[in-house]
């Protein structure tokens, strides 16, 4: 079910501004890959190129290849809408749909896309909420608005919404940066469970978090302000945090710059 991502020579632009340059990496299925690096180094931009959300921004365009199990996401005739059904995304700020109830939020992906059996909907919603460790907290108020939940619950609701459409890959853009430590712990535990079923890529500013949840870690950096961000190295998380092969990585992790 989970799929591998192969990126080669990827460069992304905002208009004429080059945001990231020549990035190549492989993301293994059923694993957690963390992106770390200083602000503005293009982690989020790179994440958004992986499910073609980058081009939603006016002026956003991409060169290079992103292979999802051998199929180029930027190839001829590829529909970005289909890509996003395969590769789900969770954002920095929890963003449940304000007009919809908790149930409708989780069901939104299925309802808006069609192609499901009405009789399955209740089961899918329950399964997704259980998958996001939210079921016990909301099972008695599924018809209440999603915006009435706490920040951490809202973020788990967004994760439930993302996994309800059964994506192959789940991208998370700093999913815990707006949350308190307890909610953060809940989501980190959840990531550990979700990686059994999905390929997970997570952007984080919290290096302890990267060390806790990820199997592999990629370090991004930019040589100067205004220069495009680059991938410095990607390796097993343990190695990145104990014995990185590039000096810049060690400097960043030990807090000597950035």
């Amino acid at each position: 079910m989970a799929k591998r991502i192969d990126v080669s020579g990827l460069t992304a632009f905002y208009g004429s501004h080059k945001a990231i340059e020549d990035i190549s990496m492989t993301v293994e299925p059923r694993s957690v890959t963390a992106f770390i690096g200083p602000s503005g180094c293009g982690k989020s931009t790179f994440l958004r190129t992986l499910n073609r959300m980058h081009e939603v921004t006016p002026g956003g365009r991409v060169e290079g290849k992103v292979l999802l199990d051998e199929e180029d996401l930027y190839g001829q005739g590829i529909d970005p809408v289909s890509v996003r059904r395969e590769i789900g995304m969770v954002f920095q700020r929890p963003n449940p749909f304000p007009t919809m109830s908790i149930f409708d939020n989780v069901a939104a992906g299925l309802r808006l896309n069609g192609g499901y059996k009405k009789s399955d909907l209740n089961d899918i919603v329950e399964k997704s909420l259980k998958g996001a460790n939210l079921w016990n907290e909301v099972k008695d108020r599924l018809n209440k608005p999603g915006s009435g939940l706490s920040g951490g619950q809202q973020q788990r609701l967004c994760i439930a919404r993302a996994i309800a459409v059964e994506p192959k890959v789940l991208l998370m853009d700093e999913p815990c940066s707006a949350l308190d430590p307890i909610s953060t712990l809940a989501i980190e535990d959840l990531i550990g469970e979700l990686k059994e079923r999905f390929t997970i890529v997570i952007v984080t500013h919290n290096m302890q978090q990267a060390a806790r949840v990820s199997d592999r870690t990629a370090f991004f950096n930019l040589s100067a302000v205004g220069q495009p961000g680059r991938l410095i190295e990607i390796d097993d998380t343990e190695r990145i945090f104990s014995n990185p092969s590039v000096q810049a990585t060690e400097d960043y992790i030990s807090g000597r710059f950035g």
């Binding site: 059904r85 995304m89 749909f97 007009t99 808006l112 608005p145 009435g148």
Partner: protein, 353 residues
């Protein structure tokens, strides 16, 4: 020795002299008294001038007293507050006066008979008659105009906010701005020229066309603002679920902003419901009930008011009918506004816990 006493004895840099809470009211009352006295002594007849003098005295008095007692910074703060209050009163007084006059004069002949009969067998100088034909005409013309203008306006706004980039969007925005400035009589003349080219007689729908021209830019503008208020994160959340853009707009963006869009449309309806010039040119007016907006002259409320006033020949009965029709028109617009607020509250995203 109590604690409070100690605090009072200590010289404080944080506490200064301050006017009592009731001082603005006292200054206001004093200003009014002085203004009335001044007016009587100087022999000024106009009550409006008395009011203006009182307002100016209030501002000057507030500043002077506050500057003396509290210092200049507090005086500036107080004068800003006073300016807001004076401006508020200046705006409210004419409004209350207008509503009061309309209600007082309008209720004289406003009854069920008035609302359910036309002017068919009543001369303008005679009492009796009613506005049923005008209400029907207004509802049909405004309704048809809304049916045309609301979809065009909302779709244009969706294009501008969600799709429009570059030259075409800028051109559309520019022409919407230009349309906002079209005087209603010009919109009427535009349709009238078409009517003359095709050699048609006045009919209700022609008025609807002119009203729609006036309504479109208002709807576009308000809808645009409402769509811009929808956070981009919601659009991205929907797109990231693999929902196509058009469905995202239909199922996420529009439901989130539907309350505001409805309010905008209602306000646009309120604006065109009172238009007289295009109706006068294109619908012509009619003493009889004409339920068909596509054939023959019709009546409408603003036109009825104008004609009763203009053709009254000094007859009180016609004046009374004009006031009663005005009251009906104001009530109609007010009900629409209340409806709009109700819908906005009902549809607004809920945060209930």
């Amino acid at each position: 020795m109590s604690h409070a006493a100690v605090t009072e004895e200590r010289p404080s840099t944080l506490r200064g002299a301050s006017l009592p809470v009731w001082s603005p009211w006292a200054i206001a009352a004093g200003s009014v008294v002085v203004a009335v006295l001044l007016g009587l002594v100087a022999g000024i007849d106009s009550r409006v001038q008395w009011g203006l003098i009182a307002g100016l005295l209030f501002l000057a008095g507030t500043y002077g007293i506050a500057a003396k007692v509290e210092g200049r910074r507090q005086a500036k703060d107080r004068i800003a507050t006073s300016l807001v209050w004076v401006a508020f009163l200046l705006a409210v007084v004419p409004l209350v006066s207008l509503v009061w006059t309309t209600v007082a004069r309008g209720v004289k002949v406003l009854d069920l008979y008035f609302l359910t009969h036309s002017m068919g067998i009543v001369a303008d100088s005679q009492p009796g008659g009613g506005i049923y034909h005008a209400i029907i005409g207004s509802l049909e013309q405004v309704g048809l105009a809304t049916l045309m203008a609301a979809p065009i306006g909302v779709l244009t706004a969706i294009y501008l906010v969600e799709y429009g980039r570059g030259g075409l969007a800028r051109a559309v925005t520019f022409f919407v701005d230009v349309m906002t400035g079209i005087p209603s009589v010009v919109a009427g003349l535009f349709i009238l020229s078409l009517m003359l080219i095709f050699e048609m007689e006045p009919f209700g729908f022609a008025g609807s066309l002119a009203l729609a021209i006036l309504m479109v830019p208002v709807v576009v503008r308000s809808t645009e603002e409402m769509l811009k208020l929808v956070p981009n994160e919601l659009r991205e959340a929907s797109l990231a679920l693999g929902v196509p853009k058009w469905r995202t707009i239909l199922k996420v963006v529009l439901p989130t902003s539907i309350g505001g869009i409805t309010t905008g449309i209602m306000l646009a309806i309120a604006r065109i419901a009172g238009e007289t010039a295009p109706v006068l040119l294109l619908v012509f007016g009619n003493r009889f009930i004409n339920n068909n907006p596509f054939e023959g002259a019709q009546q409408s409320l603003p036109l009825y008011i104008y004609q009763q006033y203009a053709n009254s020949a000094g007859a009180n009965a016609a004046y009374d009918r004009a006031w009663a029709a005005s009251l009906t028109l104001i009530a109609f617009v007010m009900i629409l506004n209340l409806l709009a607020r109700g819908i906005a509250r009902w549809k607004a995203p809920k945060s209930g816990r």
